[in-house]
Symmetry: C2
């Protein structure tokens, strides 16, 4: 008889023990799934919430192999992990979701872009370049975004090149040189797929970015878009999941252009910042959906329960050290406000320290509260 997910010997191993792992654990508790964590930070947010916490590098072949040895399913909460080790674990019969092949593609923005074109998935026009000098070949196509093929994260590794004069600021590394396209909205769609091939798709959400730090400032669920755009965005997301042979969950970030064209920007095969609100705002959360997908369980209902706005709690500029939260009582006194702190001891400017989801009867009410919280709830150091 096969092990069942609730058996005490069944183990899900996660590479990474940050906030995504933490929220995944909160859901895994419901199905009595034993979670084990590998993370390089001895004080990682998941540390005290699991039966097994291993402090080790996610990019170290031996560390990942050793960690995966006694796990039944291995998954990730960050893409920057040692794929060779995951390939080896997969070969040895372990279930690794998302697949190492998908991770390999996602780790390299150049391969990602080639994947889109190969599969007729709409995406902004681009060139793959080896170094800074190559940018001169495209002088008459400006403006561009230059994105490092590897290692970028949360806005790092991306630079706007608005005209050829800016080439001197460019990265001198293998990159994607992507046509800067004016867009009207940034959308995100989360899809899931299990081994049986059962898929689900969450309602489309809309992100408002803080241009200074390239982090989500507000997230709106549902997106304020027409039914036909909603439908098309979902179709694209499902197509990506299908072509990428997904098992697990996948966030598809998109640009909506003035003429209603949708371009896929990038994908992340894991729970995503643009899905935090699903914990309270949707029947099934992205974390539960991820769990269901990797355990080959039927997908949950993704319907929206109530409109929501999500706001990231970022460390205040000018403060580093043990985190101190100002305005917490005031925030918690507002009805429909859900505070999620990530358990990071030290704050730093713009570090993601938590998020707040606000449910309301309409987006305008939720946004009003979100703005209040953004003004009042501050993360400083003592």
């Amino acid at each position: 008889m096969n092990k069942a997910f609730y058996d005490s010997s069944f183990k899900v191993g996660i590479l990474g023990g940050g906030q995504l792992g933490r929220m995944f654990i909160q859901e895994a508790i419901n199905l009595n799934v034993q979670v084990c964590i590998l993370d390089p930070d001895p004080e990682a947010p998941c540390k005290n919430l699991v039966s097994e916490f291993v402090c080790g590098s996610l990019t170290d072949y031996d560390a990942v192999i050793a960690f995966g040895q006694d796990k039944d399913v291995i998954t990730i909460e960050i893409e920057h992990v040692n794929v060779d080790a995951l390939l080896q674990l997969e070969k040895s019969g372990k279930k690794v979701f998302p697949s190492p092949a998908l991770l390999q593609m996602v780790q390299d923005k150049g391969l990602q872009k080639e994947f889109y074109t190969k599969n007729n998935i709409p995406t902004a026009p681009f060139h793959l370049i080896e170094n800074k000098a190559a940018i001169h070949n495209y002088r008459n196509e400006f403006p561009f975004f230059q994105k490092l093929r590897k290692g970028g994260y949360d806005g790092r590794g991306v630079i706007a090149l608005n005209d050829p004069e800016k080439i001197e600021n460019a990265f001198d590394e293998p990159s994607v040189l992507e046509k800067k396209i004016p867009f009207v909205k940034e959308l995100s769609v989360i899809v899931s797929r299990n081994e049986k091939g059962e898929t689900s798709v969450f309602p489309v959400v809309e992100a408002e970015f803080n241009p200074h730090v390239n982090l989500v400032e507000f997230l709106f669920s549902p997106a304020q878009i027409s039914a036909s755009i909603e439908r098309r965005a979902r179709e694209i997301a499902l197509m990506v999941a299908d072509r990428a042979n997904l098992t697990g969950i996948l966030a598809v970030e998109m640009f909506l252009l003035e003429d209603e064209t949708i371009y896929v920007n990038e994908i992340a095969p894991r729970p995503h910042n643009s899905g935090h609100h699903t914990i309270e705002a949707n029947i099934t959360s992205q974390y539960e959906q991820h769990l269901r997908a990797i355990l080959n369980l039927p997908p949950g209902d993704t319907s929206t329960i109530k409109p929501a706005v999500m706001v990231n709690l970022l460390g205040e500029e000018g403060y580093s050290g043990a985190a101190h939260y100002e305005g917490m009582d005031e925030a918690l006194a507002l009805p429909g406000v859900y505070v999620h702190l990530y358990g990071k001891k030290e704050t730093r400017p713009y570090r993601k320290m938590g998020h707040v989801t606000i449910l309301a009867d309409n987006i305008a009410d939720a946004l009003g509260k979100a703005q209040k919280i953004k003004q009042r709830l501050k993360i400083k150091s003592k």
Copy 2:
């Protein structure tokens, strides 16, 4: 400067590490509150989810004192704990919620009944008796429920005495002899109160008991009662919280009689089986509300989001051993179904192994799914 609840040195200690503690931990993670557990079972459901798990007796004075020593707030998930130790910890300056005085009263069903009468809280007529022989004094008042003053739990320690011939079956211990009153519904209301005196009250719910094992079979939220009964039930619950000087959360179980009289049956100053559905069905869950109350934070919004039915998952008759769940895929495939397994390794007949909450647009739809789940989702041993 006082310690804040999210500081890494701030600790909430819970006496008891079962399912209630487990669901409390899931909420405490959101506010980054460090939870520590004392439980006699080395394999208690909370064991692997906390930074500190102490295996020890909840009724042992020294064990409780030692555990409480370095905690900032001490709370409970079961009433059968050593109150003298809690009194001592309170005297030494620890915050103990619910108060040891309230726990003392709740541990003794005789004191509970006297508390109701002293405070004009409506309750079924009763006599306090020392032994079986005393029942003969009330031969002309039958039928009765006899309830042991101390040590009863989940239906144990209660016996129906329908006529004087049954006296031979009675307990020969100090008991409450309570007039058996025909009722039309069993209601439950959960209230909370923080140190500032801020209170909240959840919508009234209705429980359908399984008469064989005296455990909740289905729980309906909201209760199918008139607005005036709803109002009166809430008022009574708030009055109990006020008179009992509550800090924390309190479940007030009530009987609704044919003539619309409401009697308080019993109270439990902790998260309660009749509040599990609040995790998904209400803006704020009972666990978050408990946390907010004991941390002196403002109470959250208790509004109902969607109608819900909750069903307990009990170990199937005739099976003992490592738990095996039949029909799990089928249950999870139903939309709006939330499965909560409690992480108990061994099943036993009627052991509470988990619960399922079903959200729907109306109670009838939710009940339909709940009945299906009750038929199909079975807990056996391999």
